[in-house]
């Protein structure tokens, strides 16, 4: 086919012009590929940040935080009588330390478990939650603060005050995690957070198999005294897989080490839920319910239903979490969201304009040739087809060059190991950050734990994106070709032949 032969001859033999025009388009295409790839990378990075917290779009975390005020009748004065009763039951029901019954000079070594401030859900409430329309699955977890006290009971007499009103101390006074010494004796305290996870639903658990950096996950058939420790805690206590830790006199075997999820429940130790409930005396109770919705579309409805059916329930969805993520990752993502699209459009328009100008310039230099073609019988349409064919070829070349440049840019970006910081602001729902009787309030509970992490940005170019980019280049080439060829087609042959080149 002569037309194709002529197009190829023009592209091949006017190599400089062809490459220059193709590069003009290629710059725009490369910009689209890189900005899109980067945007995808930022989206993936944010999804990576959010993934440990909830399955994006389909999961939610349900808690019932205490709402504590500092006015009125003490820290818990605003609680309803029912809530106070429940809290008294939860906190008071644990194995507290009663100095009234301790003999001065005697040795003590005990663990005290305290719910960190959330009102717990009972087993029946979990079932009720699971039966809600739109709920696919529910997994409970229980996070407790374990205060370990050891030492010699001091020779002091403690007058135990009876709490009234909003005070939670129904079962005797108890010390919080603060350490101190009394009279002739000495007592040291330390605290750690322990979370009981439903090992039968690892995907929804407070610690998931994907968070493990060493060792293995809980097995339902395995020992009840298995533990997974957080990286930070393992480092500070020199623990590793195979180590042993003691909780309330029971020896647990460390089977795994896990990274702490950004923003999620970050405990020092994870054990099986039933084991912790039994040890701490919280039989059948959990303080957080991880809920998986049937579909992303059900999340809002399920969230509303939970808030309606469970008084004081706080529902944290992936969207809530996403809104709390900040840092350079979010800044970059916002920038990409706001400017990325505009940058792509400007880039493509600039590329098309550059290509059009180059094509026009090229056609201007070929006016005499076009005049000759008309003189030997070429019609306007045939001239337009020829110029557009060449422009199409330049567009395809520009697309290929642009995609190559864009992909190389992405590879270089990924190889540079660019990382951004993602921070999650904690949603402190238990406000007593200090004081509080025996530690209550010191370990402020929250649905979202504050934290930050560095996230590696891995830009990605999809096949669809590459196809789109090539199509854009072809479109750009055709626009450029149309602009140039219409000018060429309008030329009268006599005027074209008079042109001095």
């Amino acid at each position: 086919m002569f037309f194709l032969k002529y197009v190829l001859a023009e592209l091949r033999r006017r190599r400089g012009r062809t490459v220059l025009t193709a590069l003009g388009l290629g710059v725009g295409v490369a910009l689209v590929v890189m900005v899109n790839g980067l945007s995808t990378g930022l989206n993936n990075a944010q999804a990576t940040v959010l993934k440990p917290l909830t399955g994006v779009g389909t999961d939610m975390s349900v808690t019932r935080p205490l709402k504590i005020t500092t006015g009125g009748r003490g820290a818990f004065g605003s609680l309803s009588p029912t809530a106070r009763k429940q809290l008294r039951s939860e906190v008071g029901g644990g194995p507290g330390l009663n100095f009234a019954s301790a003999k001065a000079g005697s040795k003590i070594d005990t663990d005290t478990f305290r719910a960190a401030g959330d009102l717990t859900f009972s087993a029946s409430e979990l079932k009720q939650l699971a039966s809600l329309k739109g709920v696919e699955s529910v997994a409970g977890s229980l996070t407790l603060t374990d205060t370990h006290l050891s030492g010699t009971v001091p020779k002091i007499k403690i007058k135990q005050s009876q709490t009234s009103g909003g005070g939670p101390g129904g079962g005797g006074a108890s010390f919080g995690p603060a350490s101190g010494s009394f009279g002739g004796g000495s007592i040291s305290t330390s605290s750690r957070t322990i979370t009981g996870v439903d090992e039968t639903k690892p995907a929804l658990a407070a610690v998931t198999p994907s968070q493990l950096t060493k060792g293995s996950y809980f097995t339902t058939s395995g020992s009840a005294y298995q533990a997974i420790v957080a990286n930070g805690y393992a480092n500070s206590k020199s623990l590793s897989v195979g180590s042993k830790i003691t909780i309330d006199g029971k020896t647990f075997h460390v089977i795994g080490v896990a990274t702490s999820p950004l923003g999620g429940t970050a405990s020092d130790i994870y054990v099986k839920l039933t084991t912790l409930q039994k040890l701490a005396g919280y039989g059948g109770q959990v303080d957080t319910a991880e809920v998986q919705a049937t579909s992303a579309a059900d999340v809002t409805a399920v969230s509303t239903a939970i808030k309606k059916d469970f008084k004081n329930a706080s529902v944290t969805t992936a969207a809530d979490l996403a809104s709390r993520v900040s840092g350079s990752l979010t800044d970059a993502k916002n920038l990409s969201h706001k400017l990325g699209g505009a940058l792509e459009i400007v880039g493509v328009i600039a590329a098309i304009l550059i290509a059009s100008l180059l094509m026009l310039s090229s056609v201007t230099r070929r006016v005499r040739e076009i005049g000759t073609l008309k003189a030997i019988g070429w019609s306007r349409l045939q001239v337009v087809r020829q110029i557009c064919g060449e422009a199409l070829g330049v567009g395809v070349l520009g697309g290929v060059l642009g995609v190559l440049a864009g992909v190389i840019g992405i590879v270089v970006l990924n190889a540079s190991g660019w990382t951004l910081k993602a921070s999650v602001a904690g949603a402190s729902t238990t406000a007593a950050q200090s004081g509080g009787p025996f530690g209550l309030g010191q370990a402020a509970s929250s649905a979202i734990t504050a934290g930050s992490t560095a996230v590696k940005i891995t830009a990605a170019a999809s096949v669809a994106l590459i196809v789109l980019a090539v199509c854009l280049a072809i479109f750009g080439g055709l626009v450029a070709g149309a602009a140039a060829s219409l000018r060429a087609a309008r030329l009268r042959p006599a005027a074209a032949l008079r042109t001095i080149e």
Binding site: Y6, K374, R498
Partner: protein, 250 residues
């Protein structure tokens, strides 16, 4: 006016695709033709009241100083431009009234052009340049290839089909241009200083080539030249001055 009226020798393959009306006895009939460029104070009257008849098979040389209107006249004869006034008939058809599409068809099928600077497409080979003229017809690839080979043979360039213009001498390039002009079997050959860019010996060769074509194929040849020697080869010479015919050797 020449008394010759030989039948045009059309290439069989091209003739099949270029149906022509019954030939008129005269190829060209121009009456009161004028061409004006610009307007007002910038107006230039390139041709002014040209009356001219050119018979089929004539070899006419148009001479005159620069700016006398030679090229403008050739462009009007070649349907490359429209006159500002008067009537231009080619084979009985008024070029003033034809639509652009019909003028294109006329340029393709009836008229062949040879330019001073050859005007070959630099990116196409000799064969490609000739094929560019045939590509606008409905001949298939095999027919086109055969026709290109025939034409190169006619102009003595067999075996040069794959040479780019830059790889050919000036004379060879002009031969390719002549072959291209003959590609669709025209009845009229218009040549604008065809030897102007060639040395004397090569110019002579090209001139003889054109004369041979006129004789062998019965073509009407209208040639512009500054060269008296070239002009003397024509059977008829028309001299232009300031857009008017001041001498016609007919």
């Amino acid at each position: 006016m020449s008394q010759q009226s030989p039948q045009a020798v059309r290439e069989p393959s091209a003739a099949a695709f270029t149906p022509q009306p019954e030939p008129a006895p005269e190829t060209y009939e121009l009456s009161g033709v004028s061409k004006v460029y610009g307007s007002g104070s910038t107006e230039v009257r390139a041709l002014d009241g040209i009356d001219l008849t050119i018979a089929r098979g004539e070899f006419v040389a148009i001479i005159g100083a620069s700016g006398s209107g030679k090229t403008t006249l050739l462009q009007l004869l070649g349907a490359l431009d429209r006159a500002s006034g008067g009537r231009t008939l080619l084979n009985g058809r008024d070029l003033q009234t034809l639509e652009e599409r019909e003028l294109t068809r006329l340029r393709r099928d009836t008229i062949g052009f040879v330019f001073q600077q050859f005007n070959l497409v630099p990116t196409l080979t000799a064969g490609g340049n000739i094929e560019a003229a045939i590509a606008t017809t409905k001949q298939d690839g095999r027919q086109r290839a055969q026709r290109v080979a025939e034409l190169l043979e006619i102009v003595g360039l067999a075996g040069r089909a794959n040479h780019l213009p830059s790889q050919l001498s000036g004379g060879e390039q002009q031969r390719v241009a002549i072959a291209r002009a003959l590609a669709n079997g025209p009845s009229v050959l218009l040549a604008d200083e065809p030897t102007g860019n060639l040395d004397s010996a090569t110019g002579d060769e090209i001139l003889h080539e054109l004369q041979r074509l006129v004789t062998d194929r019965g073509l009407t040849l209208v040639l512009i030249t500054h060269d008296a020697k070239v002009a003397s080869a024509a059977l008829r010479t028309i001299r232009l001055r300031d857009g008017k015919i001041v001498e016609d050797s007919e």
